[in-house]
């Protein structure tokens, strides 16, 4: 099993509903976020192109955060999901420094927190909160090893990219372009 997400940059309108849904679902403290919106404007006026992306932890196959963690608090869960065991985390910050996507933050209670692909929801067969609420249905979630999953099908059909693959982390959140 290899969980992954595909996000359609052509459909995303940058409404931030995914951000709020995540904060609500996961009790993210005020002023922090596990996912966020990025708007990239590229080109020469008047030929400008805008790309909107909902970004989060890429649940990398070769995660520097799991490698750097001195206690094993950062680890791979079923399906390659990268999570943090709160009562094993010492709050040293090594994983935060090691993430090229800056997807982790220090929770006010001391441990390090991040996107879990809503592990507690997918265990019950539900979709992650961000995917479930998206009003334009621009996010796809599922198992890459299942050729008939939503995410496998859309990746077969559409051109896609990952963020800074040259960092060598093998990210598993795909952006449809």
């Amino acid at each position: 099993m290899r969980y992954a997400m595909a996000i359609d940059t052509k459909k995303c309108v940058g409404c931030s509903d995914c951000v709020v849904a995540c904060q609500t679902e996961n009790n993210v403290p005020i002023g922090y976020c596990r996912d966020w919106i990025v708007e990239v404007t590229d080109g020469t006026y008047p030929q400008l192109e805008i790309e909107l992306r909902s970004e989060r932890c890429n649940h990398c196959d070769n995660s520097p955060c799991v490698r750097c963690c001195p206690t094993g608090a950062s680890h791979y869960e079923k399906g390659g999901i990268v999570t943090v065991t709160h009562n094993k985390c010492i709050g040293c910050g090594a994983c935060i420094a090691s993430c090229p996507y800056d997807a982790r933050y220090s929770h006010p209670e001391g441990y390090v927190d991040k996107c879990t692909f809503c592990f507690h929801r997918i265990e019950k067969g539900l979709k992650p909160a961000c995917v479930a609420v998206c009003p334009t249905k621009c996010m796809y979630f599922g198992d890459l090893e299942d050729p008939n999953s939503e995410v496998s099908l859309v990746l077969k059909k559409r051109k896609h990219k990952t963020l800074i693959p040259e960092a060598g982390t093998k990210p598993q959140v795909y952006y449809l372009i």
Binding site: W36, E39, D42, C68, I90, D102
Partner: protein, 313 residues
């Protein structure tokens, strides 16, 4: 003009607009750890070579401060932790791919060892020292017999400690400035140089002082050579590493790095030391303080600048 504007809706304190996860505690610890490693390295080296009586400043006197340096460094590390009560989780696992894990274990071994070494030489400072209990006296006699063996263990651990302070940073591929393997030898050289400088303060004879002055000059030359290589490597690398190097070549860390680290911390003390070797009257304390100051500035600047360097996407 072609432009790319990136607007992020994210605002996680300590990460945006740039990473600010490590503060003064980490560079202070890296300096104290490097200095401790340097002193213990020379103490062990001259014990193994059987030159203890020739260089008592290095073998017997300077190591007395090492337990204090290490305990202070460990305390700084502890202050840096944000989930403090769980610090013991470090010692429930050995993770070889995490430099912080084997660094924690190295400290666990070298700190008590440095205390044993200091205790063995306590009479150097308190000639009338008495262990009071017979059992302690017996232990001291027994341990004295194995001093060379201890020195062998200590020299290995000291080198690991010295290199680890650099490897700790170079393991982070997300921060292009840190992500170079030269940081390991560079931090080791800087730690050894600080150690040699500290030993000069504890040296008793002119001969010993001159030896460590020579060693320090050599180490400073090695450091300058490694710093040149560091920048050559960056400039020949990818755009993110060129950007990282530019923090020091025109960017906001240019003045502090070249003035405090390279000129005041390396070139000036090397010059003063050469003058000293030519029998000019230079107060010993000046080059020593400059070397130590350069070492601490070097770590502060690398730790802070590294957190500004990043991948853009």
């Amino acid at each position: 003009m072609r432009e790319e504007i990136i607007t992020s809706g994210r605002l996680n304190p300590h990460i945006d607009p740039h990473l600010e996860i490590w503060h003064w505690q980490i560079p202070l610890y890296l300096f104290l750890g490097g200095l401790a490693a340097g002193i213990l390295f020379f103490a062990a080296l001259y014990t193994i070579m059987g030159k203890e009586d020739k260089y008592p400043g290095a073998v017997r006197r300077a190591p007395i401060i090492v337990p204090f340096l290490l305990v202070l460094g460990l305390f700084a590390l502890f202050l840096d932790l944000k989930h403090k009560l769980f610090f013991w989780q470090l010692y429930t696992i050995i993770k070889f791919e995490s430099p912080m894990s084997w660094g924690a274990w190295t400290l666990m071994a070298i700190t008590p060892l440095s205390m044993v070494w200091a205790a063995l030489h306590i009479r150097e400072f308190f000639p009338k020292w008495d262990w009071k209990y017979d059992i302690l006296k017996d232990i001291e006699k027994e341990v004295q017999k194995y001093k060379v063996h201890i020195a062998w263990v200590m020299i290995v651990l000291a080198v690991i400690l010295g290199i680890y302070t650099g490897i700790l940073l170079s393991a982070f591929n997300a921060r292009p400035l840190w992500n170079t393997s030269i940081l390991g030898p560079l931090f080791l050289a800087s730690g050894l140089s600080a150690g040699a400088a500290a030993i000069i303060l504890f040296a008793k004879s002119e001969k010993e002082r001159r030896l460590f002055t020579k060693i320090d000059i050599l180490l400073i030359v090695i450091e300058l050579f490694l710093i040149t290589h560091l920048f050559m490597g960056f400039m020949a690398s990818t755009s993110v590493q060129i950007d990282a190097a530019n923090l020091f070549l025109g960017g906001q860390y240019t003045a502090p790095f070249w003035i405090f680290v390279v000129i005041l911390g390396l070139i000036v003390p090397a010059g003063l030391k050469i003058m000293e070797l030519r029998h000019m009257k230079i107060p010993v304390i000046i080059p020593v303080v400059l070397v130590l100051f350069g070492g601490i500035m070097f770590r502060f600047i690398i730790v802070y600048a590294g957190q500004m360097s990043r991948w853009l996407y």
